[in-house]
């Protein structure tokens, strides 16, 4: 079979990513132009480290977004003569080029890597966001009130943290556990916290204006409540509260368990960070001022303390997306949760590692992709930390 030269492979790759380049240039150009007005995000463009990190992250975000345009082949399409071929092999029947070679089933490595980015980019930030919601909603009261509540919550957090992650995954992300409906029940608990968070946030601020409060809190309860029920309610599981007609969100159970377990692993660390920040900020005079004017506890936690803890939290959020990406990869590497067909990076590394010494590309390509995304997130966090400390 004919192959392209390395240079040809390289230029073809560049061209395939064209939508990504255009989107990145546009984002950077806009951001640099308006950076004075963009707060902390704008300041990021003063730091080389931060810009490089943002570059990596944006690259993968746009790749996920334009995955259909970039990937030349279907992720599951097997062309048997193309098994384990090297980079740049041209398919004899004119279907195209396997730019980064083929895997042991004759699928295009490049297309699978591109498609895999979509899975990571959609799950990791969302799971991290949920972990933050949970960590914040529990960490604020623990740090603010202290006492027994803090003791119990901290004990629970330490309990989860003492669990080796991998063991937890092996225990939790199994078909047997999915059968019992445990993921749905855990999701029911974890997913209600963001709703509680939103209600507390608006109510604590607006209770002095009852009319406006009733309107907004009502809207949150209706819309958020429906989303919540639709998320956790699933036809053939332990929780089936919504009639099928309005249960519009379907999450496959094996995806849900992956999501829930990743949130579960991350939330205690976020809890500890938020609790520590709360303990610190609670002693500030503006908190005392709020107390002396008779503010309720949740207003103080959510409007006086939380906004002033945002710096470290934003930095940790970036780091944690990276960590979540690694966790998702770990799950894939052990073949837990997602189907073996799935093009996510962890699973493809796992599939490719058996023939590593003879056909390295199927494992190396997703491995480097995963590393570059995590590196980008870590650099971004570093840049943010540096800039937020600078005045």
């Amino acid at each position: 079979m004919d192959t392209l030269t390395h240079f040809q492979v390289f230029t073809t790759l560049l061209i395939r990513f064209l939508p990504v380049w255009i989107a990145m240039i546009a984002t950077f150009a806009l951001s640099v132009t308006f950076r004075k007005r963009l707060g902390l995000y704008g300041k990021l463009f003063d730091s080389t480290v931060g810009m490089v990190g943002l570059g990596f992250v944006l690259f993968w975000v746009f790749t996920a977004l334009f995955a259909d345009q970039i990937a030349p082949f279907d992720v599951l399409a097997q062309i048997s003569p193309m098994k384990n071929v090297t980079a740049g092999t041209i398919e004899p029947n004119g279907a195209g080029v396997y730019l980064l070679g083929g895997d042991h089933l004759g699928r295009d490595v490049f297309s699978r890597m591109v498609a895999g980015s979509r899975i990571v980019i959609s799950i990791a930030p969302l799971a991290t966001l949920f972990a933050f919601m949970v960590g914040i909603t529990l960490g604020l009261p623990a740090g603010f009130w202290g006492g027994k509540l803090d003791a119990v919550l901290s004990f629970l957090a330490n309990l989860v943290l003492a669990f080796p992650v991998i063991l937890l995954f092996y225990l939790l992300v199994t078909p047997e556990v999915v059968q019992t409906g445990l993921p749905q029940r855990m999701a029911a608990v974890l997913f209600i916290l963001p709703l509680v968070f939103a209600i507390l946030l608006t109510n604590s601020r607006l209770y002095v204006k009852p009319q406006l409060r009733n309107l907004i809190v009502g809207a949150i309860v209706v819309i958020g409540g429906w989303t919540y029920l639709a998320l956790v309610s699933e036809a053939d599981s332990g929780i089936n509260v919504l009639p099928a007609a309005i249960d519009l969100i379907h999450v496959p159970a094996n995806l849900l368990i992956v999501f829930v377990s990743v949130v579960f692993v991350n939330a205690p660390t976020v809890f500890r960070i938020v609790r520590g920040l709360t303990l610190d900020i609670r002693t500030r005079d503006y908190v005392a001022a709020a107390q002396t004017r008779g503010e309720r506890p949740w207003y103080i936690m959510l409007w006086e303390i939380l906004p002033n803890a945002r710096g470290p939290l934003i930095v940790d959020f970036c780091l944690r997306i990276g960590y979540t990406t690694i966790l998702l990869g770990t799950l894939g590497f052990f073949g837990l949760g997602l189907s073996p067909e799935s093009p996510d990076w962890g699973s493809t590394i796992n599939a490719g590692r058996k023939l590593l010494t003879t056909a390295p590309l199927p494992a190396i390509v997703p491995a480097l992709a995963l590393m570059s995304l995590v590196l980008g997130l870590n650099l971004l966090a570093d840049g943010l930390r540096e800039e937020s400390l600078r005045d």
Partner: protein, 694 residues
């Protein structure tokens, strides 16, 4: 080797020194054209407000300006050798051996993981190559010299095992280990309580004389400089504006800034109604926004357009006096003895009925002792039998040092904590056991607080306007958003801030401006009682007067009762009607301002009065330096709380002071003192502060 230094020559000569800091964006000049000379054995004071560059000068002498700071012009000659061109190796031999430095935070200055002895002994071991045993012996001797008890134990302890005052003495001992020729002290007592400060100041003066060390003493406190120094240099916005002998500059100042500074600080004789303080108008210029010509020009009452704002103004000698110089082209034209322009005399606020009454209020805390627990709980008596009343329109000052229970008192009154025992009556309502969540909006908005630290009092992520509006919302003021917005703007007017500030974030405001916002917020619900917890102590002197004035003005307008918590007796004397002195949770003295500031005193009040530095050359003070530190509230002494440091203890027969809590003695005019001393002893007390006849 350099030629030997002639002792009649200056030991330190700073010659037209300029220092800049370089940031990514620009060069920020921190010190410009600064000159000063320190002779052997002389104590030189460097005075100015924060940001004037005085600490930068000190660090430049040590050549320790960090990565961003650089000396861009001039010379610093130490014993005739130019420090600005020395190599790191040469500098190392001078640092610590010939020039030593002491700075503000004693705890932070000591290595937490190293024993005191090792930290002290290190100095002669590097510089004189002394053997370890010998160095430790020397350390022991110096520790005794700085009057610390039980030097052997101290040498073996870690810094955290000592109190703040002891730590600062150790830092001083460390500086003296190799008998330096020049000692630089950068605000060495700012972090300490006044009675502890007095001891440190005495020590520095004595040791300076004993070892013949020259001092470069940096402070914002004019009174302290008067106590310690022979000469001083007043700095403003990166420049020296006046220099000369201390007495001469104090009595015959030749620069408008020096004059304005003195007029803005409360010295005996100032009075809020008859001789009010005069604050300096305007704000300190930012380093990159300095005006052309005289930096002080825009705030100066003698400003002459066309002259003061043209070109550089040099330091020029004053025709009389000893090396007295000023940076003012109009100094010879100004009549320096003219009294300040008369200000409209204000009416003394009318004192109304009692609004707040505390009866035997007690507040005890239970704390578990020690980091690792195990030792069971201990009771800390933060407030003991607190009784007083406050009337409408009155200013009641609560005076005391750290650990005296004044903050606990504020918390109990505000309802953040509930009293353990006793009664708090607000008008006719019992509030001692009502926590703030259970208080009515009326009660809450009626008792408000102004906080100490301006950088902490406002929520950094909310606009000024939003924060005031929130207070209005909570207090139920105004019927809709528009009404509250209008009321918020009125409140900004009330505290004399531009209305445009409503849209600003707190970080865009100066300390004084933030404090004004804090005051506006406290008065949002028409507060009847305002607790002001050291509201001006963190502000620069020139701003203090303006904020104090504002508080007084609002008080007069609204008939507010002001509970003014402070450790600064000068400001207390200036503005309060009655004074309550607290020590370790006890009220030791309570009376009108005149009663408290005149004998008979409680022995603690006497010491406190003596310890407060006063920036007035006419004042003669009796020097009373208290031994030791304030005992911990966790572990108070038996009997009278003050007995461990009291100089009058020997006048009380038996061991009454050590065994029995003294009774509250009612003297004439409702003056109360908690003391065992006999009436005769009280009568024999002499005033601490005497003002020499003018």
């Amino acid at each position: 080797m350099d030629k030997p230094w002639d002792p009649s020559q200056p030991i330190l000569e700073i010659d037209h020194l300029s220092i800049s800091f370089f940031t990514r964006a620009r060069e920020i000049p921190a010190v410009m054209d600064f000159s000063c000379t320190v002779m052997a054995g002389e104590a030189m004071g460097l005075v100015g407000e924060s940001g004037c560059g005085k600490s930068t000068v000190a660090l430049a002498v040590m050549r320790d300006l960090g990565k961003t700071g650089r000396i861009v012009g001039g010379a610093i000659r130490f014993k005739g050798r130019d420090l600005t061109h020395m190599s790191d190796e040469e500098l190392r031999h001078i640092r610590g051996s010939e020039i030593a430095m002491i700075y503000q935070e004693p705890m932070a200055s000591l290595n937490p993981a190293m024993k005191i002895g090792a930290q002290l002994a290190e100095v002669p071991m590097i510089h004189q190559g002394m053997a370890k045993a010998e160095a430790w012996a020397l350390a022991r001797q110096i520790v005794a010299d700085v009057r610390l008890p039980d030097p052997d134990r101290i040498l073996r302890s870690y810094p955290h095992q000592l109190s703040g005052g002891q730590q600062q003495r150790i830092v001083i001992a460390m500086a003296l280990m190799s008998k330096p020729a020049l000692l630089i002290l950068d605000e060495p007592t700012t972090a300490l309580d006044v009675t502890v400060e007095a001891g440190i100041v005495d020590l520095v003066k004595d040791l300076g004389e004993k070892y013949g060390t020259s001092l470069l003493f940096i402070s914002h406190n004019l009174g302290l400089v008067l106590d310690v120094c022979d000469r001083l240099c007043v700095m403003y916005s990166g420049e020296a504006v006046e220099t000369g002998a201390v007495k001469e500059v104090f009595d015959r100042m030749q620069h408008p800034y020096t004059q304005a500074l003195f007029r803005s600080i409360p010295i005996p004789g100032a009075d809020k109604t008859t001789r009010p303080l005069i604050s300096i108008p305007g704000n300190f210029p930012l380093p990159h926004e300095r005006p052309p010509g005289c930096n002080f020009g825009p705030r100066c009452s003698y400003f002459a357009a066309g002259r003061c704002d043209q070109g550089d103004i040099p330091m020029a000698p004053v025709p009389f006096g000893d090396r007295h110089e000023t940076r003012c082209i109009r100094s010879s034209e100004i009549d320096w003895d003219a009294p300040p322009p008369a200000r409209a005399r204000t009416e003394r606020a009318t004192i109304g009925p009692v609004v707040l009454r505390m009866e035997d209020v007690k507040k005890y805390y239970e704390v578990s002792s020690g980091m690792f627990g195990g030792g069971g709980t201990k009771v800390v008596k933060a407030n003991e039998t607190l009784s007083f009343e406050a009337r409408e329109g009155e200013t009641l000052a609560i005076v005391g040092e750290s650990g005296c229970g004044k903050s606990t008192f504020a918390k109990v009154l505000m309802g953040l904590e509930t009293a353990t025992d006793g009664k708090i009556m607000l008008y006719d309502r019992d509030i001692q056991s009502t926590p703030i969540e259970k208080r009515s909006t009326d009660t809450v908005s009626g008792v408000q607080m102004v906080f100490q630290n301006p950088f902490d009092t406002l929520n950094p992520s909310m606009t000024i306007g939003r924060q005031i509006v929130r207070a209005l919302e909570i207090f139920g003021e105004g019927k809709d958003d528009a009404a509250r917005h209008a009321r918020m703007l009125e409140l900004l007017d009330l505290v004399k801030l531009p209305r445009a500030f409503a849209e600003r974030m707190p970080r865009q405001l100066s300390g004084g401006q933030k404090q004004r916002v804090g005051i506006a917020r406290a008065f949002a619900g028409g507060a009847k009682i305002v607790v002001a917890d050291e509201p001006v102590s963190a502000l620069d002197v020139s701003v203090q007067a303006a904020v104090t004035d504002l508080l007084m003005e609002i008080q007069r307008k609204n008939g507010t009762t002001l509970l003014f918590i402070s450790h600064d007796l000068s400001i207390v004397r200036y503005l309060s009607d009655r004074v309550m002195v607290m020590y370790l949770g006890h009220v030791v003295e309570l009376g009108t301002t005149d009663q408290v500031f005149q004998p008979p005193y409680h022995p603690y009040t006497e010491a406190l009065l003596s310890a407060v530095p006063i920036a007035d050359t006419r004042v003669e003070k009796k020097r009373i330096v208290l031994e030791g530190d304030i005992p911990s509230a966790m572990n108070p002494p038996p009997g009278c709380p003050f007995q461990t440091r009291c100089r009058w203890k020997s006048h009380v027969p038996g061991n009454l002071c050590e065994t029995e809590m003294p009774p509250v003695r009612m003297l004439k005019g409702g003056h109360q003192i908690k003391c065992h001393l006999s009436d005769a002893e009280f009568a024999s007390m002499e005033p601490v502060i005497k003002i020499a006849a003018e």
